[in-house]
Amino acid sequence: MIRTLLRFAGLRHIRRKPFRAALTALGIALGVALFVAISAINESTLAFFRTNVSSMTGKASFTVLGSPVGFPEELVEVVRAVPGVEAAVPMVESRARFGDGETLVVFGVDLLQEAAVREYGGGPGDDQHAEDVVEDPLEFLNQPDSIIVTRSFAAAHGLRLESPFDLVTALGRQRFVVRGLLEPKGTARAYGGGVAIMDIDGAREMFGKVGKVDRIDVVPAAGVDRDELAGRITQAVARAGSGLRVERREDQARSMAKLVEGYQGILAFCSLLALLIGMFLVANTIAVAVADRRREIAVLRALGASRAGILVMFVIDAAIMGVVGGIIGAVLGRELAELLVERVSASMSRQYVTPIDVSELHFSSAQAAAGVIAGVIAATLAALWPAWRATRVSGGEAFGAGPAGAPPLVRSRRATIRRLAGLGMLAAFGLLAASGASHPALDAVTPLLGVAGAVLAAPWLVALGLHGLGWLVRARGPLGRLAVLRLACQNLLRDPARTGGNVLSLVIGLMLVITMGVIQFSFKTSIGDWNQRVLRSDLWVSSIGRVLAVDVQPLSEELGPEIDRVPGVDLADGKGARGFRIVHHQHEGRQIMLKAMEPQHPKVGNAWFDVVDRPVDQAVAELFAPATTGVLVSQNFTRHFGERPGDTLELATPSGPERFRVLGTVVDYGSPEGTLYLSRAVYRRLWKDPLVSAFSVEVAPGHTPLEVQQAIERELGPRGLIATRNSQLREQFDVMMDESFGYTRAIELAALGIGLLALLSTLLLSLLARQRELGMLRAIGMSRGQLARMILGEAALLGVFGGLAAVALGVYIAQLWVVSTLASSLGWFIQVHVPLSSVAITVVTGLAVGLVVGLLCARRVATLEIRAALEGS
């Protein structure tokens, strides 16, 4: 029987209303597209990490890693001496600026040992080792300016064998000569091909790493138990005492991937939200189809169709739209992923200060299939509720009153229950978020509560707004003349719950806009204010002009006195430029940040040290007192690791474990895991690292920052130094923040697109349901213009009130989210700032969507034939 029902009732319906079905399928398609695109991007990011790790580790099973500033080269012999080690190959890894801020990762390797671990690709079929790339290895080694670059890099910059080119290294600008070209295979694929290879000794010289190693790749001898070997190496390096760790090849990819887990989580959450919006669209379409076909259902029931039959009939409708939407979505998603992948990986690189260059998109048929399946499941689930409602239609209605009866005004108890449940969920969300309780289960439940509560409460909020307006334009009210507006308003109030439901998709889309806006603005403002408070120097001198980034090419501290000689640089106690070093540090399995500082120029005082729990001068005096080894800890460090002022903290330094006294707590947004401030003298000694990340410089009285900036670039520009004014730094920060959140625009647009489709489809359907009424209005003298204005008014009101509801809900959710979930997971104290521009954008976008939908609908009713409408055909 079900088959009969489908033949005669279900499929024909789609064919009869192709426009409606297409609209709904398109909504699903957008949701699936986002879902597929984001999963493809996330997958590609992981694949990038895997490729990176495997091309870096080659045949090695383990890698010995230490602090990012390297460890003593004697350890290579220690590792090599461990029984069961076949080869232990050292490498130094540096970043150099090339051209206008492009970064090249330079590996310094022992060319003669490399073959034991890494391949560099070659002609088809044969493995090419590093020493094969150069024609004369001895000559290569004899000339310290020798470098090997990838063919793609060479082609992009017009380089050939024997071409000279400049890189900015720790010693300033240096000249190198291309003495070998790599196919972009094997190790040359790491970092997207932006790599170069040098002899290890030359690299140490050029990059200020004499006597150091950044990693040792270990190849085990045949037949050796790997777990045991890993244990022996760990013990051996621990005895040497340098805070080193042994990572297996598979762990490395995992730990890189872990870094971006949070980021990927947000993306995945957004894509699910988009799918959810698509589901509302389906639910809406089916609900209206059910309302539309009530009589038909009644007749079918009277003729003996079963409840299950009716249910299946509607669910199949939805499933078909899900399949079509899913397939279109998978195709669209691939395009979207191509479009987005670069921006997302750029944004990730910025947030995690790791070169992440996901240029290769991994898009498998499994992902496409998952997208289609997600579409079908979403559509089917969404249809269940309205389809179940259809099964409640009794056969008796077939004999019921004709079209004479005016549809009753609904004031349903269910709507009240839904509203109360929604408000309850929002309240629970608020309490949970405000309590700051943190538990993995809670972290998952809290946002869900927020979203579910918003979904349930949104229709009511919209209705509330409409009621308010309805009261304003009440016949006796001041706006009594605006009969058309009033009619529009009252049409919307006819069934407030349903009206609210009609804009739900749009509200959720708009909520995404305002939530992202609030989060983004709050971060930007909080961190920007802090920057402004803390970064007070007139000028910053660095190798890359990006002072805020961590992984920049550091500079030799010897450059300080040279800067001091530039006219206009203010000296205090005989010293002008103050170097500071910002590096990552592995602490208890997490990557924290170290800021090694010098005593500051009197002009800026201790502004940099934003100590919150002690007198600043006292804490800073202790930090620089020669007798103490102390640190200032950031608030989030205390949050994550527990140590607070007065405690003692043990850090694994390249000179072995060292105890630090915690001298005070500072505000710092440098790292989501935590930041430590220490004296550069202490850092220099324990980390054996004399390099600086940048210098801060003050301008002498009678000079302007611009003058001195130009003077520094004139004198030291040829050495590769860049001076940045404080105001430029702020701009850099703004750009960086905007880029970090850049990808969210695409997500917002997709969500809004679905919202628009949903509103369009529901409004068109409601017009269809009301066409007799519209015919009557025309008959008693409503002009085409008035009718169009009424429809436009309805849509615009829906858009505006949808926008207002989204603002109310979005601000509420974003605020608690920023304050609790996000801030507590990062440990940052972010103050909530609601940007008026986002509020305006949200409401205006709502209005714009409403107007677009209204115009499309108005065009349809303009051609309404009065007679046909009156007769409801």
Binding site: G402, P403, A404, G405, A406, P407, P408, L409, A475, R476, G480, R481, A483, V484, L487, Q490, N491, L493, R494, R772, E773, G775, M776, L777, R778, A779, I780, G781, M782, S783, R784, G785, Q786, E865, I866, R867, L870
Partner: protein, 228 residues
């Protein structure tokens, strides 16, 4: 002078590749103050005739001159305004707006014409009083019976003080007792206010209440005679 002069009225509807001629040349003249019943079998063109007279549709050929105005030359906007000010419609299915109260429904044509509610409301209240619904002014359509709804619809048709009221089977959905009440209202309107009513009906007794009966068959006037 005649209120309505329809000359050579023809209406053709396309039907697939062919077309059907629903009205095949009607000449009708109605004077002010007449109560005219239009009768005829289903499909004979009664509704079509009412639509053309009411300016809801345009004739394929012929002309309608109403209150001296040539309707076929009017733009849609002008026709709409004309309907608001000069015509009243009563339908078989009442067609009230469910969101408005009885009184607001009655006001609607004049509100659409830009009048202030405060000015229209007293007139609407008086009309509702006249149709016997003074106590139900603030009720919504879903709180009214069929007969009451139709009386509200009649009050709406009268609110702009129209020259012509067009009623298409106004009693079709009412039991005979309430039907009588509605017919009486038309009768009174014509008698006491000198207004003009054209009413389609299937009911010979209803037709007998009119001054004159026009019988249609297959798109042509079969008879046109005063009631005895």
């Amino acid at each position: 002078m005649a209120l309505l002069e329809a000359r050579g009225l023809k209406k053709t509807y396309p039907q697939g590749k062919q077309s059907v001629e629903v009205l095949r040349g009607l000449d009708v003249t109605v004077d002010q103050g007449e109560f005219v019943a239009v009768v005829g079998p289903s499909g004979s063109g009664k509704t079509t005739f009412m639509q053309l007279v009411g300016g809801l549709d345009r004739p394929s050929a012929g002309s309608v001159r109403l209150a001296g105005e040539p309707l076929e030359t009017f733009s849609d906007a002008r026709l709409s305004a004309f309907r608001r000010r000069k015509l009243g419609f009563v339908f078989q299915f009442f067609h009230l707006l469910p969101t408005l109260s009885a009184e607001e429904n009655v006001c609607l044509p004049r509100l659409l014409d830009g009048e202030a509610y405060a000015r229209v409301a007293p007139a609407a209240a008086a009309l509702l009083e006249r149709v016997g619904l003074g106590a139900r002014r603030h009720h919504r359509p879903d709180q009214l019976s069929g007969g009451e709804m139709q009386r509200v619809a009649i009050a709406r048709a009268l609110v702009a003080d129209p020259v012509l009221i067009l009623a298409d089977v106004p009693t079709g959905n009412l039991d005979s007792k309430t039907g009588q009440l509605v017919l009486q209202l038309f009768r009174d309107t014509v008698k006491e206010r000198g207004q003009t009513v054209i009413m389609v009906t299937h009911d010979p007794r209803a037709a007998a209440l009119a001054d004159r009966v026009i019988g249609l068959r297959d798109g042509l006037i079969e008879r046109d005679e005063p009631t005895s």
